[in-house]
Amino acid sequence: MIAYLLNLATLATVFGILAASLNLLIGYAGIFSMAHAVFFGLGAYAGAQIAMLLVPDVLLACLAAAAVAGLLSLCLALPALRVRGEYFVVASLGLQMVAITVFSEAHAVTGGHGGLVGIPPATLFGLNIGDPGAFLLVCLAVLALVLLGIRVLMRGSFGRSLMAIRDSESAAKAFGKDVPRIKTLAVGLGCALAGVAGALFAFYMAFVNVESFTLEQSVLVMAMVIIGGTATLAGPLIGVLLLLLLPAGLSFLTFIPPTEIGAVQQFIYGLAMTLLMIFRPAGIAGLSTGRR
């Protein structure tokens, strides 16, 4: 039982980091990326390779993952600077589709569909933290750091710059904001954090393959952020808890045949997305859009 809860808690923590990092893009920067799973995946592959080739040190793997995902975030920053709105969403969808093909074809780095097997248990400064409890603590610490960092940054001038660009890009420019640089930084930071989540995910699963980084995963994370509430600290976490507990909750409704649980679950989160957008577009934890 404890092991099961640990397991669920670790997964929720990792997805919490992932959702918080996407919230940085969607909620604060107004960059509606549908390719977040790509950077989650880049981090997972980078972390896994570090662990398998060098040392399974969590810190090192997380740093490498953040570096790889942060650098390659230029693929997302480039269209983000060129186009906005619908165009950017389409561009990010395109990036997601191309990246999936690259992930499944770059056998040498990603293992293709077969994935990377046998990622060793994690260590931290030589200490073994492969034990589920210890690993959960590390993940929680990372989540706390990430949330703290986002809170500090978003309450500071960087957050104000981002939100100003989100609310009116032309006005932000007119008041001296270097929009391309701020956007590139935000995308880099958001994607690097997604990479960190990916590295933790790789250690936790001890196995990664392309199936965990598909469009469906991007949509799931997006749903977590949207349903929970964008541009709030707690929103994404609420979204993560709701969507991760949904399958567990559904399995107690005995009138649903077990083979259909997956579909029913999908249906519910599709329905939740649509209804929220119609009646409460700011999400569960979000503020209303004002009395305008």
Binding site: I26, F32, R82, V219, G262, F267, G270, T274, M277, P281
Partner: protein, 289 residues
């Protein structure tokens, strides 16, 4: 001969893409709504056709059923999803997420109703015959090309020659003109959704008889429609149709040099290149930045 053969299958795929993307572009051009649930319309029409044929109804009745369902779904989206969101001035992303949510719902309903496997209708129309040495063409190729040409011509005529059509084109840009013509914006937006959704039906039926449907087809079709309308220039019917054709041909031709896995990625590379280097698309006006 390989290139020619790939070109033929590319044109067949492209004709289906073109019609579907044209429907999407028609809706977007008239209403400025990014109707990502267009893929769901396609899937619903396709599965309705398969369900009716397997249920013993003839093809004409099955096509009619698919048409009715597609149009009804398009109108329902306009009435019950987009209009309430627009009433409280939702951002484009609100519309996008809501429509995406509906797409997910439709996909899961199809999974429950039809299972997760392929669904297809078998017909001798898809059996290819040797046209030239090494070049095999099936009747369905001519059907697809003819359907695309006829429907596209009809829609173009409608948009350019009829009062309603001109009203549709003016809807997003020149609302004053509508008043002069005595047309209601609400009715025009219904017509845009009805007509646009109807344009997804031939593609859905052709896909059901050639490659078969699967529940995730709605996401694929959505991606292709989005890609085609961006490459073509958002809102341009002609651009979307041409870009759809282009994507179909690229997907197939690329197979002559690369492995098959790269075929759909190639289409998205084209999309990505357009967004980076020519965001206004083939026929687009300059993008408002």
């Amino acid at each position: 001969m390989l290139i020619l053969q790939l070109l033929v299958s590319g044109i067949q795929t492209g004709a289906i893409y073109a019609l579907t993307a044209a429907g999407f572009a028609l809706i977007f051009g008239a209403t400025r709504i990014f109707h990502v649930a267009h893929g769901a319309t396609f899937a619903l029409a396709g599965y309705a056709f398969v369900g009716l044929v397997n249920g013993g109804f003839g093809w004409p009745l099955a096509c009619l059923g698919a048409l009715v369902l597609a149009v009804a779904f398009g109108l329902a989206m306009d009435r019950f999803v987009y209009r309430p969101i627009q009433r409280h001035e939702g951002s484009f992303f609100t519309v996008f997420v809501a429509a995406f949510g509906v797409t997910i719902m439709v996909q899961s309903l199809i999974e429950i109703g039809f299972g997760r496997s392929f669904a297809a209708v078998s017909t001798p129309l898809t059996r290819a015959h040797q046209l030239l040495p090494g070049l095999y063409v099936a009747e369905v190729f001519w059907v697809a090309v003819a359907a695309a040409l006829v429907l596209f011509a009809a829609v173009t005529l409608f948009l350019e020659r009829t009062r309603l059509g001109i009203g549709l084109r003016a809807l997003s840009e020149n609302p004053e003109l509508l008043r002069a013509y005595g047309l209601s914006a609400r009715r025009l937006s219904m017509i845009a959704f009805g007509l646009g959704s109807a344009l997804a039906v031939p593609g859905a039926v052709l896909t059901a008889i050639t490659t078969g449907l699967q529940p995730s087809i709605s996401a694929q079709v959505m991606l292709v429609s989005l890609a085609a309308s961006v490459v073509g220039g958002i809102g341009s019917l002609r651009g979307a149709a041409l870009a759809g054709l282009l994507l179909g041909v690229v997907e197939n031709l690329v197979v002559s040099v690369l492995d098959t896995q790269w075929s759909s990625a190639a289409g998205f590379v084209v999309l990505f290149a357009f967004i980076l280097f020519r965001p206004s698309g083939l026929f687009g006006r300059a993008v408002a930045r």
